[in-house]
Point group: C2
Chain length 72, copies 2
């Protein structure tokens, strides 16, 4: 079953948000269905079958400070 998880990610430019987007989009078809990123809100919204912990691990590998905010 799919869920939509929200993360707060420290992103300061479009290079930052683009990097996070790229990493998550690589998982399309492997547990990630949709990715939405708001640079002004520092918000990353991911829909898919991966757990919050799995997604957190992937996003943290970008080196960006990341907090889990909850399910939408």
């Amino acid at each position: 079953m799919s869920s939509t998880h929200i993360f707060k990610v420290e992103m300061t430019c479009e290079g930052c948000s683009g990097a996070v987007e790229r990493v998550l989009n690589r998982l399309k078809g492997q547990g990630v269905e949709n990715v939405a990123i708001s640079l002004p809100d520092q918000k990353v919204t991911v829909t898919g079958t991966l757990s919050a912990d799995q997604l957190l691990e992937v996003i943290k590998k970008t080196g960006k400070k990341t907090l889990y905010e909850g399910v939408q």
Copy 2:
């Protein structure tokens, strides 16, 4: 034996270079000895026992476009 590898990494702000630095510094004592990053030169220099391929994989997980430039 340690080597010093140079990578060209697309970084557009200090958030970008900080993220790459953070990811590599997490490997200090696990194959990475020294990390030097130049944002203006888009250059990441890593000294340690990890191979160029291993380092490339780590840096690519940041989502930044990365090219291997060679050994220093």
